[in-house]
Symmetry: C2
Subunit: 322 residues, 2 copies
């Protein structure tokens, strides 16, 4: 579709599109998006970053057969989940969304599903009040969505911000998505609550901003698994991180090591000075749990049970596991 505005920044209406089949499809998407889509139609979208804030931008691809199976999710859920996963990268850095761009590659046989994808994308973006500002449409053999998320923050969290002496906090409860995937792979229906954690993640935008305001200096969203993602923080910050397996908040029926390696969670893990977790949970309606600490030592993550190191499966690797 390619994205844009009407040039003066005042008008928020989308401009007229030219003729052609591809543009008919764009019109279908725009009709479904309604006011969620803004300034679509130029070669590029025009946006403004709030004064005193920096621009954050991230791009995230979801491919059929790699990131999801068509028979696991509805078309609505595929659109929703890809959008939420991309916006979660902004949450990881405690940024507020400015807009998303949707590059949608659609097999011809899925043309009829375009409206459902669009609705899912709209709902995923609306959940964190993010407008859709542009995109691109292609045909292709695999259904694929590449979503670029733009946000802003005066003081973004980074992977390199962890400091010795800090504590490690994680939002929500882990293990649901891994349980759902295990069930699907075994040919069973997952529990509804696990399925929802996989299909309908909520980017933790406001909680992450709340954590930054409480002094968090490093953050990451859990996409590969708690231990694997903290490994990136440890490497970037050149610190050692200890996690107490039994303190990892987890959904029913999931072991501590399963929770430690469950990916696609889109919960947030940060390092911070001591935080009042009860007050935080009440303010955001979301559990916050202290699960470990940052210590001096060789960069890496150690999972401890009763004070002794145990091993956890690392997270998912597209090129190794597929």
């Amino acid at each position: 579709m390619t994205a844009g505005n009407s040039g003066d920044g005042a008008g928020r209406n989308n401009i007229d599109l030219g003729p052609g089949t591809e543009f008919d499809l764009v019109r279908t998407l725009l009709a479904e998006w309604g006011k969620a889509a803004q300034r679509i139609g130029d070669d590029a979208a025009v946006l403004d970053v709030p004064k005193g804030e920096r621009l954050l931008v991230s791009t995230d691809t979801s491919v059929e057969g790699v990131h999801f199976q068509r028979d696991w999710l509805s078309s609505f859920e595929i659109g929703y989940r890809a959008t939420a996963a991309s916006l979660s990268d902004l949450a990881a850095m405690a940024a507020r969304p400015l807009g998303i761009l949707i590059a949608l590659t659609l097999p011809k046989e899925d043309l009829d599903e375009a409206r459902e994808f669009a609705t899912g994308i709209r709902e995923g973006a609306s959940a964190v009040m993010c407008p859709i500002v542009g995109g691109d449409l292609s045909s292709g053999r695999d259904l694929s969505l590449t979503i670029t998320a733009l946000g802003s923050s005066a003081r973004p969290l980074t992977r390199s911000g962890a400091k010795t002496g800090q504590r490690v906090y994680v939002t929500g409860r882990l293990g649901g998505p891994a349980s759902a995937i295990r069930a699907w792979r075994a040919g069973k229906d997952p529990r509804e609550s696990d399925r929802a954690r996989f299909a309908n993640p909520v980017p933790r935008i406001e909680p992450a901003i709340g954590l930054a305001q409480r002094g968090a200096t490093s953050g990451i969203d859990i996409s590969d698994g708690l231990i694997a993602d903290l490994g990136h923080v440890a490497a970037a910050s050149k610190v050692s991180i200890e996690i107490d397996a039994d303190r990892i908040p987890r959904v029913e029926g999931v072991s501590p090591t399963q929770a430690a390696s469950s990916g696609e969670e889109y919960e947030i893990v940060v390092t911070a000075p001591e935080i009042d977790t009860r007050q935080f949970s009440e303010e955001f309606g979301l559990e916050l749990t202290e699960v470990g600490r940052v210590v001096a030592g060789r960069p890496g993550v150690t999972l401890l049970q009763a004070g002794k190191p145990i091993s956890a499966q690392p997270g998912f690797d597209h090129f190794r596991d597929k």
Copy 2:
């Protein structure tokens, strides 16, 4: 890979990455990119928009078998061309690049080609002095690149800016890419000059900024074909555009109507008051040709020969033509 910085904006070095096959591949790409890659490693890249300028952002997908055939282009050229095509969207609006993000979906059998793709991407970005600030890696059946380009401008050109009474100017000479594609489809080798126009387009960043400085108010890059793309301008601006077929600058052996419908050109067409084309061409080392005018009337584009309307093939449509 996911992208980012080291948090304070001062350090331009990329931060350490964690373990895993996917990250080994990221390391390969980063080694190839060298200083062209900046601030890779966090969940999102952190950038600053120059004071007084607005942010422009566009996303563009190139899929094997749809936008290019593997046997037409080398891996280097695939990377280069996808990057140039994406940056051309910034040229269309007379914006200067801030950075690009690369979402690369790679079939497993192409893992060995990753270095060549990376080199092409680096050269495409370096041609307009644009850093690579982030991305995402996936496996998949089709090779696919979605490149998001970020830029800034104090006064972007738009599709809706054309005004009655303006003249229409186009950069370069048209028809080369269409000639190359015709040759490949007929099982022949294209002329080297036509092939280069397809494989190695140069985003017209500086010329477009020069056109904006000379009073251009609307612009678009020629990706679907001169007439098709001007159709978007006419629709968005609610004006009628007349193009004189015989004035369209074209490469040798191409008819006016072929030049009028040749896509993938990545030349720029603008509407503007009268411009000294000779002075412009000398300054930018690039031809600029007046090809028509903006007139009152029903929104649309008319191609004229000897003052009489003729028809031109419309441009390429992914969902109709494949």
